[in-house]
Symmetry: C2
Subunit: 339 residues, 2 copies
């Protein structure tokens, strides 16, 4: 039955982006090169009006020019659903369920593409799993778009590579064609599970990188930390969902690297403040953006309760963020487990 309801994307499928943050804004910019009529759901009426009037998002990546001849906006989620076949979800995971509550129409026949890179707090589901369980979307009709791609560099039109994952290679390629533009190159994979979890895990490791940087560890140690994180990530993916995947490709290792090493990484910045002695509460108050890795840390910890995969780095971050462990001695214990 699930097979029967599989959607084959076509060049004429109607696309919409859901979300008003920086990644959503960046995706709108990317897609408006290849899509003549792109829907954009922005919750805040003020933001929506500003974009319609001035052609840029007042809050995020405001340097990006939005071509309002190609992009139509709404703050009515049911309208955007009705008028679209492919919904690209770029709402931070912490706000996602609240936004989706406003849906009164069925989305069963839609193709969902997650650009969220997070886990829904409280129920420990990835975005794909959440849409599957709560909205009866078959996994065949779910895609993932993943980096390495900081939105800030999209604004600057710096060459970036995106990976599009769908269970069907054809659908992944159809999405890839839409995302390809003069500064975006794309690849495809069928490992929707792997790339989605990799995108979640890398945020935890970026927090770890930041904590260690904040504590004064240097470049030599960061390289050891990240190569250990890469192996930890592989252990988790292979342990929870075995598959033939090469984790040294851009969607896994590349995404891990950009998140752990780039100054644009908010998860690394979050960790850095923790390492420098700020409390979790103070760090959250100080930062204007959500650090997805904060929620991911707790979710992965819960999920791993079942699997008992060796994850010393993720465990250390969990104990610092959620169990009031002192960062310095916690990392000191961690370094003995790395090699």
């Amino acid at each position: 039955m699930q097979r029967k309801s599989s959607i084959s994307l076509s060049p004429s499928s109607r696309y919409a982006v859901l979300g008003g943050g920086s990644w959503a804004t960046a995706i709108v910019k990317i897609l408006s090169y290849s899509i003549e009529s792109l829907g954009w759901y922005v919750r805040s009426e003020d933001t929506l009006k500003h974009i319609e009037q001035f052609g840029h998002n007042p809050k995020y990546l405001s340097s990006i020019n939005i071509d309002t001849k190609k992009v139509w906006l709404t703050n009515d989620i049911n309208q955007i659903i009705e008028k679209s076949d492919v919904l690209i979800v770029a709402i931070p995971s912490a706000f996602l369920t609240d936004t989706l509550k406003e849906i009164t129409t069925s989305i069963k026949d839609k193709f969902i593409v997650s650009a969220v890179k997070g886990i829904i707090p409280d129920n420990n589901l990835t975005i794909a799993e959440y849409f599957n369980q709560h909205y009866e979307i078959p996994f065949d009709n779910i895609g993932i778009v993943t980096g390495p791609c900081h939105a800030e560099e999209v604004a600057l039109e710096r060459l970036s590579y995106l990976t599009l994952a769908c269970k069907s290679r054809e659908n992944a390629q159809m999405l890839a064609d839409k995302f390809e533009c003069h500064f975006i190159k794309t690849t495809t994979t069928t490992d929707i599970y792997g790339v989605e979890y990799a995108a979640v895990l890398k945020n935890i490791y970026a927090i770890a990188s930041g904590i260690c940087h904040g504590l004064g560890y240097g470049d030599n140690f960061q390289a050891v930390l990240v190569s250990n994180a890469q192996r930890e990530l592989k252990r988790f993916l292979d342990g929870t969902y075995p598959s033939k995947r090469n984790v040294d490709t851009s969607a896994y290792l590349g995404d891990l690297l950009v998140t752990c090493y780039s100054n644009f990484s908010r998860n690394r910045t979050f960790g850095n403040m923790i390492g420098k002695g700020y409390t979790v509460k103070a760090t959250m108050a100080e930062m204007n953006m959500v650090a997805e890795g904060y929620y991911a840390t707790s979710c992965i910890y819960s999920i791993n309760d079942k699997y008992h995969i060796s994850m010393p780095i993720a465990d250390a971050v969990y104990s610092i963020l959620y169990q009031h462990a002192n960062p310095r001695p916690t990392i000191k214990r961690l370094v003995d487990q790395l090699k």
Copy 2:
């Protein structure tokens, strides 16, 4: 016969470091925590006298304090050979053969540890291969010490991890025990071929990183470049010397990361100047240190002539450094081959 001449290192083996540069100086600092009488061969008499009189190397890492009660110095290479069982070679590959020419005594019964991270220019041999072919040292009596470990961070006593590679696990562990100190952790491996070539290759990729940075490519692209480099490195190692190795460990991936991402990396700095438009000649004149990757680029290119392994990144660096290719269009062609 080779088996017969295998050396088993013992706690009482006598150690000496050969070389007066920053990595040699860092290794002397590290080893002087565990070795009570450490020989140090420094070619320049001025440098030697300065170290003996003031306790630090005047030219490299001059902040490092040398404990001259434990470290004895000489500029007579035959004397250091005579008085030592284990020779730790930390002389840049471009100067190595000239230095070794001064040897008049046999070194057949010595254990050689290479800390060079380079290939001997002109004859395309790694340090291990060179000692094996030119000095009849069996591979059993050769060790490799490898990072990720920039010497500058050793001077700062920042936590770093070294990998000691020997064909015998026992010898590797014996060396590891000597290198371990309050800011150095060690691991061992028997893959002397793999770690030595990885240390060579990573310098080429660091030059590529630098070139791309110099040309204005951003963090998103760097992450893609480095994850492609990691796969290229694996292809080369597995293609030239198949072995069960996990290239996501510190000696391979970690070393690649620190070299591509750290500001301490002279190979990255070298590439950055090339990317910014300096000629190879001008870059070399400007830099006070040898960029090992310059020689490695030509050597790996020659070696690969036999194997035809797909190495688009190393090939691009070769054509820029040795064939006067313009960096901008060369990298532009490269990016189409990455994913």
